[in-house]
Amino acid sequence: MPIDETFLAQQSPEEPGSKPQEKKVNRSKPPSVWRRFGLQFGIAAVGLLIWTMFLVAAPVVFTKPAIYLAFASTTPLFLIIALGLTFVIITGEIDLSFPAVMALSMVAFTWVFESGGYLGVAFLAAIVTGAIAGAFNGYLVAKMGIPAVVITIGTSFLFRGLGLAAMAGTGFPLTDSALDPLRQILVGRIWLGIPMQFVWVIVIAVLLWFLLNRTRFGSHVFLIGDNAISAKLMGVNLMWTKIGVFMLVGVMAGFAGLIASFEVSYFWPTLGEGTLLNTIAAVFVGGTSPFGGAGSIFGTLIGGFIIGSLNAGIVSAGINAFWTQVVFGLVIVLSLIMQVVIQNRVRN
């Protein structure tokens, strides 16, 4: 049969005797879809696997929409920030201060709102506060050259402390009916009870995909994370790109702070505590390289929903809640191992 012959002809160079030739044949093909998006396939497969496991373990829960609506309302609270954090991690940096920025942004919101400002202005105040906090982080990292992991611990205390001091430790109820329009936009329920924050996650993911893959800024994010010296030698502005990625996380933290507060109609100055590890885990489970230079918005999106579904999934699957942390840890560790294995395979 002719098909078999061509198949054999293609197979023959892969004999161990003619190894260099095989390498050349390999290179002569444009990179396969697997080569280029292997990691994304891997993440999607992990997501499907976990979902199937839940489906088998607790079919009553996972065949009804209620659990998915619950995921859709809780996951965005940290996933929105994770999408922004993907940029920071691709440049090879890290931000640990975003939980505190969530609260600080809300302080700005309540101040403007309480002093009789327009709702839109109060919203902008929260976003701008996030941007300024991010720019401060970025400046300290990019201009002063302080390692991000250290300095953002410092700014984290600073932002959290400012927030607590400004609120004198008390909360702020967001039940005023004047807030309703914004509540509807941020966390309202639409068709089939789908929460607005889920819509926002998708909208932000699409926008950030364009920012990462179709703008100079996004290009420079990849190039700096890959090889900062090379990027600098070729005239890429390291400082502004890095300040930019930190500002992006700040803005996302401000937005997520609003959503998280409006979801419970109350602003606690401790807002954001407990989101740190989920958010970072979402980015790494999503296949963004811990070495910088590689990562994807799609991966973080899937990673976020994997992280977001684990807790509820494990409990409803009837596993003792004490085991949730173990499963959580296993998923993260295995994801990182998978990432390194796939990357090595793609390289060779």
Binding site: K29, R216, G218, L223, N227, S230, L233, M234, G235
Partner: protein, 259 residues
């Protein structure tokens, strides 16, 4: 004297020094590069060659007192981005590639093409990279895909990307920092032919290499650096390759030029 007789150098350095803390990498360099001229820059490791070209490129700022002129204009607020904008391209010793990224991203590193909406013109860059690779790098259109990562290429192919990148942007001045390092014989020949072609196009180049048998045939003038200062500046007509070798040896031994 007629003004038109005086050739304005493309690049001129006046009293340029560069110190890194206690280490004086460059000491009072006076250097010029004329249009259509290829200058070979020789010198031992640590003589200041790389510092000199990184200063010309705007990567380092010269110490106060030093001045850089481009076509007779004093440059202030000098940066790599500006240098590339006015047409100075460099093929760095370290190649300046981002290896996890695709070939097209590396070709357009720092100068990404954009469409009318300000978004990246990805298909345009892919097509252009593909064309450059087949026309200038000798790859058949299917040999290496522009979406391949640089990681998968050989040393010569990587150098090809760095050189093609410099060529693509129609540079006035091309600076090559040890471009033949780690290349095979045929790849070296290709690179030397490329350097000759720069002159044929009326552009200028600075060529740095340890191998004077590579440098001598293609250059018009040779500058020898020693411990951050210019030890010799001779045109090729004035020196044979033998006396050049003697001169370099005397610089290495005694620190002074005698050819």
């Amino acid at each position: 004297m007629n003004d038109t007789d005086v050739v304005t150098p493309v690049i001129e350095l006046r009293n340029v020094s560069k110190a890194f803390g206690e280490v004086k990498s460059l000491r009072d360099i006076n250097f010029h590069l004329n249009p259509g001229e290829i200058v070979g820059l020789l010198g031992d490791n640590g003589a200041g060659k790389s510092t000199l070209i990184k200063t010309i490129m705007g990567f380092y700022a010269p110490d106060p007192g030093g001045e850089i002129y481009f076509k007779g204009n004093l440059l202030t607020d000098w940066s790599v981005h500006k240098a590339r904008q006015i047409g100075i391209e460099t093929v760095y010793q370290e190649r300046a590639l981002c290896e996890q990224q695709s070939i097209w991203r590396n070709m357009f590193l720092g100068r990404e093409l954009r469409n009318k909406f300000g978004l990246l013109d990805v298909s345009g860059m892919r097509a252009e990279a593909s064309r450059l690779m087949s026309e200038h790098m000798g790859f058949t259109s299917t040999a290496v895909h522009p979406d391949n990562t640089v990681l998968t290429m050989s040393g010569g192919e990587k150098q090809g990307v760095a050189i093609t990148r410099a060529l693509y942007f129609q540079a006035e001045v091309v600076i090559l920092d040890e471009p033949t390092m780690g290349l095979s014989l045929t790849e070296t020949k290709k690179t030397l032919n490329f350097i000759r072609s720069i002159k044929d196009h009326g552009k200028s180049a600075i060529f740095i290499d340890h191998n004077i048998f590579h440098v001598y045939p293609v250059v018009d003038r040779i500058i020898v650096l020693d411990r951050g200062a210019i030890a010799a500046d001779v045109t090729k007509e004035d020196i044979s390759i033998e006396s050049l070798m003697d001169g370099l040896q005397s610089v290495a031994r005694t620190g002074s030029w005698s050819a």
